[in-house]
């Protein structure tokens, strides 16, 4: 499914956080959203999974306005991994993954065989099958994110929305999680802090600053030395990754002040 964010404006408590953003993800495309903190990435994504209402502008799923759908219908198309850290309650991994079936079920309806099959499949896809009976709150950060990804898969979405899913994960779990997205590819909108990860994973990037898209395109075309200095305020060289051929951004950890001056 194609998702298109059109001229999106979001004001929160009187402050305009997102002002006139256009973002498109074609079917099967993994589209990254990058930008400094406070640039409006999370706010924009929240309108896609309907936590926030756009002040103006639209989010279109194959041309249909997401706001014109019921909440449950929208949730059958779009699944989200927000930044929330989860729950103090004793929920098992299986119970958390099973929540993905919520938008498909009426009041009082239990899980049927089809639900159980989808839940089992989702857990297998991210490799958490053996954790089924474990307490979700006792898992490591990496395990948790995989379980939440399984929950999103159990939602059978056409579009995945992920808000910095690799935050607070150690390196191996970061690579592991992004690998799962690559492996079970579907239309994806993902906000990422790690520009090298974004360059490797995403088909296209949108760079946000102060609630506006300042550049879009293939990672290779977007992540330039000038943009890194201007938007992120860092000095860096962009080279080719010797192993993968992806763009590799080598930051100059001594050069932040100079880059700032250049800006």
């Amino acid at each position: 499914m194609r998702i298109a964010i059109e001229d999106l404006v979001v004001a929160l408590a009187g402050r305009t956080v997102v002002s006139g953003v256009d973002v498109i993800a074609e079917p099967g495309e993994i589209v990254g959203v990058v930008g400094p903190n406070g640039s409006g990435k999370s706010t924009m994504l929240r309108t896609v999974y309907r936590h926030l209402k756009p002040t103006s502008g639209r989010v279109l799923l194959d041309g249909r306005d997401l706001r014109a759908m019921s909440a449950t219908e929208a949730a059958r198309h779009v699944a989200a991994l927000p930044q929330e850290r989860g729950s103090d309650f004793e929920l098992s991994v299986l119970e958390v993954v099973a929540m993905g079936r919520t938008p498909y079920k009426r009041a009082f309806a239990g899980d049927d065989d089809r639900d159980r099959r989808i839940i089992a499949e989702a857990m297998a896809q991210v490799g958490v099958t053996e954790l089924a009976g474990r307490s979700f709150s006792a898992l490591s950060g990496g395990e948790r994110q995989r379980v939440l990804l399984a929950r999103a898969f159990a939602q059978e979405p056409d579009v995945l929305v992920l808000d910095e899913p690799t935050n607070h994960l150690d390196l191996r779990h970061q690579i592991d999680l992004l690998g799962l997205l690559r492996q079970h590819r579907r239309t994806t909108l993902i906000a990422l802090h790690d520009l090298n990860a974004a360059a490797s994973l995403c088909d296209r990037l949108h760079v946000l600053r102060d609630g506006q898209v300042v550049d879009s395109g293939k990672p290779r075309d977007v992540l330039t030395v000038d943009l890194l200095a201007e938007v992120f305020g860092v000095r860096a060289a962009v080279v080719e990754h010797p192993l993968t051929g992806d763009p590799l951004i080598a930051f100059d950890h001594q050069g932040v002040r100079e880059a700032g001056r250049a800006r």
Partner: protein, 357 residues
Amino acid sequence: MAVESLPRQDRAQLPAVPKVRAGLVATVLVVALVAGLALATAVGSSFVPLGQVWSIVVGHLVGTKPVPGTPDLIVWQLRVPRALLAAVVGAGLGLVGTAVQALVRNPLADPYLLGISSGASLGAVAVIVFGATAGGVLGLGLSAAAFLGALGSFALVWALARRGGGFSPLRLVLAGVGIGQFLAGATSYLVLQTADEQQTRGVLFWLMGSLSGAKWSVLALPAIVVVLGFLLLQARARGLNALLMGDETAAGLGIDVGRLRRELFVVTSVLTGVLVAVSGAIGFVGLMVPHVCRLVVGGDHRRLLPISALTGAVLLVVVDIAARVALSDQELPIGVVTALIGAPTLLYLLDRRLERA
């Protein structure tokens, strides 16, 4: 690709969520409830043998005239309605506790700790003191006032806890305790304003939480409200599950979070109001019951709600027996007994959570 991210032995050590089949647990609880109800009608200031209890109850149910006399009066007019009221109130408190904990996403919450019960008490006492028509049909006036008090105090505690955007469990509990104490003070003031000493004593007894007002005529309203409340909550069980994970997650799962919260506010306030109107503010049941049930059947509300209701019913029936027989010459308010069990439970839970944090 799915890399195994923990070695096998580490996985084996991860705590499992204990899971006993909910059907089995429910069966055990129903048996325990029936046994508890039978015991509650037999014991008390005078013992009535179970056989005689049976013949009296059956006699009234099938319409054959039981032998009139003191045992009949004690069993049918006093103990049966009281035992049933204990079950209804216990079930209601178990439900409210479960719902409130999901609503505020805090396993340490309960209507008593959050000051909701105090608001309900104030509303009810205001009617008793000022309203000549206290009670009305089925005790509707009293219950309505208690509901308004509950809703008002809940809204106030919620607003205080959410002030400044942030939302910490500690802040919530502190706000609840603060508001609760204030409202309890106001209630005491109102009670003492009533000159009638007899009435003052009665109201104070009821304030501590007591089932001594049980009779057939007060049973209908709470029973109906608890059954309806259960159905309304059970219909939203998946929404409650989603709410545990956070507002954004719930929204992403297609839940209208604002609407669900408003519904839960009203349902829990109505339940609390009606329960307080018949039994006063019985503390800690709403805290303990969901917690224990989660340990046994897990956190999924589709199982947790019915199991909590049954457990609450069993608990309160048993505790009420204890409250009636603990002292030889008089009965204890049931709230005193639940506080004696519940407060240490709260401290234990707090301690465990602080350790984990």
